[in-house]
Symmetry: C2
Subunit: 245 residues, 2 copies
DNA sequence: TTTGTTTGCTTGTCAGGACATAGTCTATCA
DNA sequence: TGATAGACTATGTCCTGACAAGCAAACAAA
C-alpha cells in the first residue's frame, strides 16, 4: 500500500528531502494517503525513490514534527490526520488576511518618531532616551473594522513612514528591509471594549475583545518590535495546532 | 570561546545528541553561553566531544528549532536569546497550575455518560447514537474560581468517574489510561460573561472571559476529547513562543 | 490454556565521508 | 580609491554502512 508515487527531480534546487515532504503532504491532503493508513518502511520507501535512508528519514522527521505522521519503533509509520491546520506562525495579520483572499485596509491613526515610553523600553530592552517609531493603526476588512493595533519599532533598523504603513503590513515592511524574524513571545487574553476602542471598532462599550501582546526578535537576537493589539471577538480568534513532541 | 565543556556519557541510555542538547541548554540558561555569542563550528565541536558531525548537527538542529540557536551558512552558529519561554504545549490547565506551584482544585458540576450531542459528535467524528462522557467542571486556584470547563470524551477508551475527575486533571487521567496525545486543534477567543458563568466564576455579568475550544487526537489518530473552556480574563491568558522555521 | 521464548520487522542511533553553496575576507587590478 | 576575483570558512545536502532497541506475532513449554 503506502508505496507513494512521487516525482523526485534531482536537478531541482529544492532539496530532495523537501521534495519528499511536499509530495507526502500533497498525498495526505488530496486523500491519496488516508488518515490511519500505514506507509511502507523507511528502507523500502527510500529504495523506491532512489534515495538514501537518512534523506528519507529527514523528510519523515519533518512530517512527524508537523503532526502529519506518527512513527513507532518496531511497528511502522502511520498517517495521523489530515486536519492539521497551519501552525500558528510568525506572520502579520495583514499577511494572513491577504492569503485567505480578504481585502485588508489600514488606517494610520497616529504616527510618531519619539522617545520610547517605559513599557516599550522594557519590552525592547532599549537604553533610556532611545527612540522608536510608535504608531496606532486600524485594520479593516471589506470595510468592516477588525483590529486596533499599537506598535513600537526600533528606529535603528529601518526608516519608516506613515504612507508605507497605510498600504503594506508591518511585517512585510520589516522583512523587505532585511529583518529576518526568528522568535516572538506572545500573550493572548480578553478585555472589554472601552470608550476609545468601541467607536473605532464599530462596536459598543462593553463588547468582548481579544487582546494580543507580542514582542518579536530577529535572527541576530535584536528585539525589533513590540505591540499591543485588540480584535473584535465576534470576528476574530486565534487558531492553532499544537504538536506533542 | 564557545568550545563548551560537556560531559558525554556513552554508557547512558540517553542518546548522545540529546545529552548535547541538554548540555547546551544548560549552558545557555546558566549564562555560560551568553546571548549573541558564537559557538565553534560543527566539525570542531563534534571533534572536541568525540562525536560525529551528524550527531552534533542533530543536537544543534533541535536547538535551532526550539529557537535557542541560529545558524547561518558560511558564518556560524550563534546563541539567539535566553528569553525563550516554553512553547505552548499539549498540556492541561491542571498540570500547568501544579507545575508553577499553585493548588488547583476541581469541582465537578455535572457528569453524564450520554449520547453525544451534535457538536460533540461532529468534533469527535462519532457515528449517530455514539455515547460520550460529558461533564462540566469549575477549576479554582487557592479558592479563587478561574475556569469553567465543559468537555466530551469518547467512552470506548477509558472508563471515567466523577470522583477521579475531582482529584486529578483530565489529561492526567487519560494519559495514565494509555492515551498518548499527539495533536490538538485549538481556538482562542473572547466573550462576555453571561448570567450562568458570572456567579460560578465569581465575577459579574459582562466581564471579559477568554474562551478556548480544543479537540485533541492521540497517536493512533483517534479524536479523543473536545472541550469548550472559559477563563476569567483578569487572571488568565495564553502565553506562547512562536518560532519561525 | 497460559506463560515464557524466540524470531523477524521497523524505527532509533551513530559513524565517516563527499561535495555543494553561501557568506566573509583579502588581495589584486583598474 | 574602489570594485572585482579568488581563497577560505562554515553550514547544507546526501551517501553508505552498521548496530541497538522496541514491538508483535509465532512458537514452544508448563
Amino acid at each position: 500500500m503506502g508505496s507513494l508515487n512521487l516525482n523526485i527531480d534531482r536537478s531541482s534546487p529544492v532539496p530532495l528531502y523537501h521534495q519528499v515532504v511536499q509530495g507526502i503532504e500533497a498525498a495526505i491532503h488530496s486523500g491519496t494517503l488516508a488518515p490511519g493508513s500505514r506507509l511502507d518502511n523507511e528502507i523500502d520507501l527510500a529504495a523506491s525513490l532512489n534515495l538514501s535512508r537518512p534523506t528519507m528519514r529527514k523528510a519523515m522527521d519533518e512530517l512527524v514534527r508537523s503532526g502529519l505522521l506518527v512513527r513507532k519503533r518496531g511497528v511502522g509509520t502511520q498517517v495521523v490526520s489530515s486536519q492539521v491546520r497551519r501552525h500558528l506562525e510568525l506572520s502579520s495579520l495583514f499577511d494572513d488576511l491577504q492569503r485567505v483572499g480578504s481585502k485588508p485596509a489600514t488606517e494610520v491613526l497616529s504616527f510618531m518618531h519619539m522617545e520610547a515610553d517605559d513599557a516599550a523600553r522594557e519590552a525592547l530592552q532599549l537604553p533610556k532616551g532611545a527612540k522608536v517609531y510608535h504608531f496606532t493603526r486600524l485594520r479593516t476588512v471589506d470595510g468592516k473594522p477588525l483590529a486596533l493595533m499599537e506598535n513600537s519599532v526600533r528606529d535603528d533598523i529601518v526608516a519608516m513612514d506613515e504612507a508605507s504603513l497605510a498600504s503594506r503590513g508591518l511585517y512585510e515592511i520589516l522583512r523587505s528591509a532585511g529583518v529576518n524574524f526568528r522568535l516572538a513571545n506572545q500573550r493572548i487574553g480578553a478585555v472589554i471594549a472601552n470608550a476609545y476602542q468601541a467607536p473605532l471598532l464599530g462596536t459598543t462599550v462593553g463588547a468582548a475583545l481579544v487582546t494580543m501582546e507580542r514582542t518579536a526578535l530577529d535572527d541576530t537576537g535584536r528585539l525589533v518590535e513590540t505591540g499591543h493589539h485588540v480584535y473584535r471577538a465576534d470576528s476574530y480568534s486565534f487558531e492553532m495546532t499544537l504538536v506533542q513532541r
